[in-house]
Amino acid sequence: MVKLKNVFKAYNQRKVIEDVSLDIEKGTITSFIGPNGAGKSTLVSMISRLISKDDGAITIDGKDIMQTKNNEMAKKISILKQTNAVNLKLTIRELVSFGRFPYSQGRLTKVDEEKIDEAIDYMELRDIQDKYLDELSGGQRQRAHIAMVIAQDTEYILLDEPLNNLDMRHSVQIMKTLRNLVNEMGKTILLVIHDINFASCYSDHIVALKDGKIVKQGRTCDVIDQCVLKDIYDMDIDIKEIDERKICVYF
């Protein structure tokens, strides 16, 4: 379980996260939604210890994330940020192999190789595993990075806007994969996502943020609500139920 207690964060006196407390259950997908600058990415970066918090406590399975060894944490929680940042010429397989770094420090064992194969197969990258990342389409590159996270084999997976720059087909493909990771492998996934319909259709819980504070958190069906969304986005959003899914119409 991921627990946040009274977490604060400010950049140059400008508060970006104010008094956030939050419990995230195991085996669920939790989406963080909210307008630009709400603090979603900051929050996820703090949970994955990429940036430090100013005040409060963040624990994962009862362990304080800052007190635990880097290497131990890297086996427990992984984060994937925007993936177009990598500018090295690496093959898919080399990238996925890095996922095993916390376990093997670069000297891959047989178990590591198996895990890498599994991850590559899971993301259906076998045929192109020796291609360089810069030769791939956006969707393939995203899948390669997710394969790396699968190889890292952490209980908790954080993704910061995983659908950025992806078309509908690839977006759905990625979200279905994430759903499967939760259902089949029992992972716990935290997402920062902009498209509230993707959040509505694929997540178990939603945390809605605005100006660094939690506006509403709870089960997806409770957060996808006209009044709540009005509060978050200052927009009148019509909600239609189609095949037991709540779809927001905001155009």
Partner: protein, 317 residues
Amino acid sequence: MKIWHLVTLLILFSFTSVFLGVTDLSPKHIFNLSETQQQVLLTSRLPRLISILVAGASMSIVGLIMQQLSRNRFVSPTTAGTMDAARLGILVSLMLFTAASPLLQMTISFVFALLGTLIFMKILEKVKFKDAIFIPLIGLMFGNIISSISTFIAYQNDLVQNMSSWMQGDFSMIMSGTYELMLVSIPILILAYIFANKFTIAGMGEDFAKNLGLNYRQVVNIGLVISALVTASVVLTVGVIPFLGLIIPNIVAIYQGDHLKRTLLHTALLGAVFVLFCDIIGRIVIYPYEIPISLTVGVIGSAVFIFLLLRRRKYGL
């Protein structure tokens, strides 16, 4: 290019290098050396060969490490002020301790090289406009500023002539007794190989490295220390060899990718082969005189560099 291609070239050029020179020495003499020949071989030819191999391999690898850590393909000891800072260090050591031992000179030069590189990295962090070409240009300017400080101090202290010996890389002065210091590069390069995976991960960015539980700062610092140490030892013994750390890693990246585990050996071999080749050319062109290595490497290297710049889109650099 396969590893054995490089090894073959390396052996071929090494033989050429050993048997090339004013004193007559050819392979048929090898088991029947006269005293002069033996002396030439042991005090001049072999030390020269070894220093060429070490300088070529180590400067190329330093370039590779610097490129990964700065996440820019055109950063190298030449384009980050490292070489100029190392030279300033030597000058300072000459002024402070007139009879400084080579080891002390190297230590001071190393400290300066490290400081210079650190300052450049700090500038990199502050620069908003991260264009691949713009960054090395800043580095060149930074290097020239350091260089002009050196020249100014040298003029004031009548040390200009001493300075110029480190300005130009030159293997013709290499003899046993003067090059051994350079051998410190070898264990450092082994260290680089051990850290190869970590350098590549650090090259993927700080967030990426932290996610995998890597101590990013520590790895970057180790990389910079390695770079400064190797640069200082080469500048002190051979002098400045431009472009090497810039072009060799990029050529290797074209056919071998960027994973350090896969590229380190290629880079070392290609660097050594390239310098050997340039040295042989320099010794042949105006035989029996010779052209300093910095000139031959500079001419050939800058041509290759321009070619790489123009074609980099095609090669995915």
